[in-house]
Symmetry: D3
Subunit: 321 residues, 6 copies
């Protein structure tokens, strides 16, 4: 059940600052590698931020996230889950984007994920800005049809367009995903919304399509457990995607991001919401908008990887159940 090939290097054997940094110090198993088809959960980098409308940087996210991930150990502190011994995990490498061509990049991303899914691998993505989710969902929808989504974010990313008609930005991916039938809006919930608004065009779209919006005030009033129980209900038993924008977390905890909004959850809540995903039928997940130029210290990336480890444990538990 537990294949040593897929075990990460331990900090007891090789200090955590040593070695070529792969995600979680897992083996690097790109497409074409002989063990590719044995991978069950694949960690993938999408170093891309062409959809960013304000402060770019997430293209540097996967590298800093890999570096930070060398601080993550093998076992979950409360559940005892040891994901790498439960399912075969690997670093599948990065999608190669075209920084100067958005449409070309989206095509490349979807093609990469088509390969991943063809091998039966469940993808756990490290972005990239939030537009990353769209080409990933396009691939997943080929296998899973219209999906539910539990979405942690301070923004809805449901806008129609920017700058007089530009359709593909990091503020529009889920508008496109609903329009393209990739998401079932009735099974979509967005949690943590806050910050000043341009207008209500995005919220009006959500209301018209049945997307549930949970503002930060409701989140703080009800607490993690209650909110997440509702989120699980909304997602139901169907295939569900988890999209985690690091700007869900208060920017003091996660300054390395391009569109911060103050007044968000703290780092403890940031982990707890993921633990509450147990039982959800997760067919893929992402951590996006980590922007190294705005946090050279790497603290944001370390929080991002701590959250990804929580995601991995939930996904491993499900894969094993």
């Amino acid at each position: 059940m537990s294949d040593p090939f897929f075990h990460p290097v331990s900090g007891f054997d090789l200090p955590r600052f040593a070695g070529v940094p792969t995600f979680m110090r897992l083996p690097y198993v790109p497409h074409g590698h002989e063990r590719y088809s044995d991978v069950q959960i694949g960690l993938i980098g999408v170093p891309w931020d062409s959809g960013t409308t304000n402060r770019p940087g997430p293209r540097h996210g996967p590298r800093q996230l890999r570096d930070a991930s060398t601080m993550i150990r093998a076992q979950h502190p409360t559940s005892g889950m040891r994901p790498y011994e439960t399912v075969n995990c690997a670093d599948l490498g990065d999608v190669g984007p075209n920084p100067a061509d958005i449409l070309d990049s989206m095509t490349r991303i979807t093609a990469f994920y088509d390969q991943v899914l063809a091998a039966g691998i469940t993808p756990l993505t490290a972005g990239g800005d939030h537009l990353t989710s769209l080409p990933v969902l396009r691939s997943l929808a080929k296998v899973h049809g219209a999906m539910g989504m539990i979405h942690f974010d301070s923004h809805t990313d449901l806008f129609h367009s920017y700058f007089g008609g530009t359709m593909y930005t990091h503020g529009t991916p889920f508008r496109r995903a609903v329009e393209e039938g990739l998401l079932d809006p009735k099974r979509v919930v967005q949690i943590g919304l806050r910050g000043t608004m341009y207008d209500t065009e995005d919220r009006d779209f959500a209301a018209a399509n049945g997307i549930r919006l949970i503002l930060i005030e409701e989140f703080h009033d009800r607490g993690v457990a209650d909110v997440m129980a509702e989120a699980r209900d909304i997602a139901g038993d169907g295939s569900t995607y988890i999209s985690y924008d690091i700007d869900f977390v208060d920017p003091t905890y996660a300054p390395g991001t391009g569109t911060p909004e103050v007044g968000g959850p703290n780092s403890y809540q940031a982990l707890q919401v993921v633990r509450e995903l147990e039982g959800v039928n997760i067919i893929g997940a992402d951590m996006v908008e980590v922007s190294p130029p705005f946090d050279p210290s790497g603290g944001t990336a370390f929080l991002g990887m701590s959250i990804m480890f929580e995601l991995l444990c939930v996904m491993a538990a499900q894969a094993n159940s």
Copy 2:
């Protein structure tokens, strides 16, 4: 009712990183401008820190705050208030201080605000260290008489003097303001007090004059809503000044300040206290002690501007009521 001249530039039209940065991307309407007398709420910078007894820097505050304010959009996320369409707002520019002469600077500041008030504009100030409030209050008192004050801070700023008799520092403005009859101490409340103390000379003065002090322990025990209800009671119906020292907030959330004290409110509470000012008769407000050299990232300034937007929404609602 809504004059397009006073509408800020939208990030949907011009990216938020573009353009000369005025407060909130509002029009720059200095004294002498033909629309000056049409302004209802004026945002003013006071780049001055000569009253600082320890770590200087707030003289650079207004510029960094203007830069951060380009991230603020047009509508409040819960109340729906669109302040720029409700009242005429503008950037009135900076007061020009004399960095090497405290008394001369105070004279210049009061003169600037006399012009503002003569035009019927309600001032919303971006400091500057906390001594800034004194010359502003001197001007306001000419119009409003002795005012109430709701004061968010980790310090009382009620000391008699420093360094053997120096009367004008950022630790003494409200002592002077009470002595000069600018504030009615019975209608003054200070919220968030904490940190190690020299002695009790400031608290003794408060007790002797009826100023209500709410320490951080009481704040955390009672919660925002209960504390603010009392604050509104203390302020009553009379003219009330709001003074918000960024060091009210925990220094992890607001490191860019000169006299931090650990253990303060988080950024969510930092916003909520302002929302609870609804109904207060606000005749002016300030955000002071943002010190860019101690937070080059601009995160403190972004929090400062997020709070100023909350202040603006409360002031706009009142102006409109």
Copy 3:
């Protein structure tokens, strides 16, 4: 009762940025100084991090902590305690370690503390990494025998060894201390544990020896007062050491440390747990793992010194009772 020689310099007399920085601006009284034997509580630096298995830096801790301590004033904000007027406090200087020889350094540290204890001084230590506690406990045990310990940390530091048998690292000090009979494991409680784990070898040791582990989830669920009441019960009336690893606090509040774990207490809780030590029979305390290279801003050190001031107040109250 209050000896002016031992009073720190006031910021009202000499600005806080001026002067050679000793701990708390106290007099520098190294061994051999004529007033050495009059000191009751001695602040000591141990600039040493040879036990660090991942990111070094705490060797620079004492200097940055001294610098930050010039921001601390004379009186506690709620209890009113003025420790420097209650007991004679002094900066005893730094232990001189041998950065290239762990065993030699431990010998030097124990020898330094033997002198301190011989003079009847209670030590309050600024580390250094957590291995610092071991040679300090060796000295204390000569006087006090097997001690209880209240230990704030995100890690147990109870591992057997690292890297194939290395016994002295910052992950092993309390394993050694129990083995050597310096600590009475039944009177030891560790609070704030969290973060991903290598395995359960450390927790198994704790369970087998009766060390009480309080995970962060239990801490957040029960609250400070309840957890600390239990901690006081565990420590009982006997001699008790307080060991405070700055990584107990959430890394957003204390980024300057080598082995951060997200999801910890905030800075308010960080202070409150110390206030709840009142009544404990404290025979020594330390603040360890402050690592300046990972927080050049000094914010972590300022929090560290704010906590040390709380420790000092509790220790002064006890010394005076």
Copy 4:
């Protein structure tokens, strides 16, 4: 001859940290302003970096450059030139790019410059990445035909394409400009070239078209005066564009840029090369690739503006001759 409207604010009157920051503290005169047609040299921001193939950031350049420009005073230290009293200078504002659409952005930039040139204004541009130069040259060529160019850079920016055929990146603008007939390659010189190379495709193009390449070794061997004499000869009497990529300067002096190459000129040489442009028939100039996220201190921007002041003095001298 000297119109006070166009004089910048003096730091003797208003401290340099005060006021809304325009370029050089000049008046803000956007298109449509009543004095627009009186401007002779216009400073323009192009906050755009969509052509960046590696590390983005120059979109934030104009704002940081404006901030840094408040440190620049009125007179040249050796020539005595007072440019603002010699020609009418103004800040014309920023071109509004579309961050998610390269072609749309280039169209917008060219349109902006068409207006500038129609008013008879000589443009001095603050980028933006180096692709900025292409749409500017398209506008200038409508008036001036095929131009000469003196180009300071560590790269040729003469590549054919990137990423399998992408034609518009910051590595290709001058290839396009030559192809489109905007530049006369025989009158183009590139100075400061260095750094590791992909291949010689760019240099081959230069050789085939008669573009003169001066590598850094030749620059250091011959010295500024000799190299610049040749540069003036190459440019001749015809209309000449000056393009100054901040990465011409050694990255230690200018770390805030996306594609640094070590071993470049120091800051003294960085200024001297501009002084040697006297006599060149300059019809426009730019300073590009200043990337604030890679130098939050602003030192790179201050160097960039110091160079722009030198450019302005040379342009003012020419306009006045």
Copy 5:
């Protein structure tokens, strides 16, 4: 001849990161100390920046300089001078300024130096902004009369006044010193001048009074040895003060300063100019304008202390001759 009391702690005995940081790890000998009168060269901190017209910070200079000085060892690398064994050197502590009162501060500084001179100690000062030199010169002139001065700086600091008549700023000290007869202008040379200018009011004053100005262009053209030979000639045999503003050095080498000017000397030249002071009759020296908030890394302070060590070696050689 060599008194062990005055020997600094060696890094071979106590690691350089350990211990309370005094200047050069020398003994701390404040006024009143029993060895005070045995000191020959006294290092003094003046933590003061009230004369700063733009970016404050030098008040934090002495502390960061002390910290950096722990990196300096005992012997000069080329001359072999071991200053601490040649003359008795000590850290005399800081002057306590009044941050909110310029005139009071100047009085305090002069009084401090009067004590120093009364004890026959030659002062080597660590500022503080450049206004610091004025009260120091006032004290020195009481003993030495009108002095010569070799002044390294990018600015003349010879302006009449700022902000409409403010006479005491860091841009005016030497104007005052000449007016007050503290300096003999015929024996004053200023080296390294550069940067944009307000006007020529300062240079006109220099010309009218016979102060020799050496611009950076002349410095680079002639080289260190030739320029310094002239400087020695100008100073002659009389009592001469050395004033070294860290902004003499290019800001890339010394970013931690408030009024940088690009294009200056490198760090090698920064040291060489001091070595060329051999033979000058130095009666005091200062290193000013090191501003820690603008270089938290401490690199500027380390350069500052490296220069101060060169000054100390020249002063020790002279004292010994």
Copy 6:
């Protein structure tokens, strides 16, 4: 001759910010890999700094150097050398040190290099502090006997011991190497020496053994070409090791190091000295003392890798000759 397996990924194909970062984007070929024995030049990381006597950090060097190396392209700008197509180069991974045991670590390092040399691979090392060179030389001497060495550094690293007899620190490796017969002192030259000195114990040893010391003053006076001609003479035809301490370069160019000394070579000279190694019989080389915590920007690492590319080109030319 050119094996595509060993070609690095091009930035034209995959953007330079993408992908798992190996040295120079070369294939990762650890011991045991099927292509291991085909490697000709192996890049190796030694993440170790236990020999550091002052400021630790080089243990993090290899990771930051790998990250920076993704900016290096395929061809040398002046020689045209394309090293990856000339010899088979690969990233051999990191030696796993024991951070808490110096002797154990040295044993591990020598063992690693024994394997490398057994496969006929020439090692190019990225440290690590300078003690790294000693265990590497121990391995090389088994093959090559007593070697010559061209050593770039601001320190001799020839001390006998530290802290009362500690023999293995980063200040002693070459003393040990001479004593152990690994180096032939008559064929050793050290270039760039400067900075304050403890005493002359190291220089005395050099003089007694015939090691040639070139101080920075001689370096600046004679210039790169002349100094390096002598260095080549000293090394002669025999096996020669190149050791490059990044603190050879001025700390402004390379702040990320633990023991900086001001007044060193600039980045252009830093490259030129390596180009002048052509013809030397290089049997191994290292780049040491890059310390990421002291330069989070990565500029030092980028300079370090630019120098390593120069080394690689010289080594490839020699291998090919």
